[in-house]
């Protein structure tokens, strides 16, 4: 009897691979959402919320002032880029296709180096949609889509390889994922790289992809190891942007 039951489960898993994940996720999702809401401060007292609201309004005012300055710089940037014939419409269209999604489960506690976000087929997400952390930092892609949630495979997952340009000299290198948002790359020691240098992925976006966190150099070796990390802490992510490909 139990053997028939096990065979039935295996058959369901083979022919309908999303059945059990969808079932388990639909049961777990209310718990994850409750945890997310508690983390977002939904259970705070009204007085505390009002005070926080006031504080946020002040911060918003300050941010608006900074935003106006940034817009002026952006306009100047667009003007300069237009001199080189770069089409800016493509960038603005891409921005419009991004959807904000809450992060329900972050890496660190799981043996799988992934995020689980609130939003799946119901929001039109598909496999390989790009995932951005706040600040337009590319961190991964959707690897599995369920009815109401999606699993995000991080580019930093162990063994993942991605082409990057490192530092002011734009040195081309292969960044290898080490898990937990960390990467490593190897470059000749003659290339001058130092901690804090920016890393970009030209094939995908010209936004910052990571920052050099350390350079390990051995005088006996011709190559030095560059350790990279995204400019955001993926263990503290609460929201991500999903971009449709």
């Amino acid at each position: 009897m139990s053997a028939v039951f096990v065979i039935a489960i295996i058959l369901v898993q083979i022919f309908f691979p999303h059945f059990f994940p969808a079932l388990a996720t639909s049961i777990a999702r209310p718990f994850w959402r409750t945890e997310f809401s508690i983390g977002s401060g939904s259970l705070k007292s009204p007085l505390l919320l009002l005070a926080e609201n006031e504080n946020l309004k002040i911060q918003l005012e300050e941010a608006n002032v900074r935003l106006r300055t940034i817009r002026a710089i952006e306009m100047e940037n667009m003007e300069l880029k237009s001199f080189f014939g770069k089409n800016m419409n493509a960038t603005s269209t891409m921005k419009d296709r991004k959807i904000l999604a809450p992060v329900l489960i972050r890496p660190g506690v799981g043996i799988y180096d992934e995020l689980i976000i609130d939003g799946g087929k119901n929001l039109g997400f598909i496999i390989n949609d790009k995932i951005y952390a706040p600040g337009n930092v590319l961190i991964g892609a959707i690897s599995d889509v369920l009815p109401e949630t999606s699993k995000v495979s991080l580019f930093s997952s162990s063994g993942n390889i991605i082409n990057v340009l490192i530092g002011p000299s734009n040195a081309s290198a292969m960044a290898v994922g080490r898990g937990g948002g960390q990467y490593s790359a190897e470059l000749p020691r003659t290339v001058k790289i130092s901690a804090g240098d920016f890393v970009i992925v030209p094939a995908i976006d010209d936004k910052p992809f990571g920052i050099v966190s350390a350079v390990e150099s051995d005088p006996a070796q011709s190559l030095e190891t560059i350790l990279l990390a995204p400019p955001v802490n993926i263990y503290q992510l609460r929201w991500v942007l999903v971009e449709h490909i």
Binding site: I9, P17, A24, V109, G110, I111, Y112, I116, S143
Partner: protein
């Protein structure tokens, strides 16, 4: 029986939140103290269903169930040898 159900509930909560470092010691203890503790495999299956990726990771996507079967079988063998 009550202890077994309580253990299972704690394990289920830990699995739902992805706290494998809480669930794993509990199921190992459960496997040792309770007879035929098949809940360990159900737990592994639920963990994979929640966090394992269905598309394209091969056996890695079944880490939970594989680990639980190894623990279940291992503890049965150890128990049989000790209690002979």
């Amino acid at each position: 029986m009550k202890l077994r159900i309580t253990t299972n509930l704690i394990v289920l909560i830990a699995i739902i939140h992805g706290w494998w470092f809480i669930a794993l010691p509990l199921v190992i203890i459960g496997c040792w103290f309770f007879p035929y503790y098949i809940e360990i495999m159900i737990g592994g299956f639920i963990y994979d269903a929640l966090f394992g990726t269905t598309s394209g990771t091969g056996l890695m996507a079944y880490s939970g169930i594989i680990i639980s079967i190894v623990i279940f079988a291992g503890i049965i063998v150890i128990k049989q040898n000790i209690r002979k």
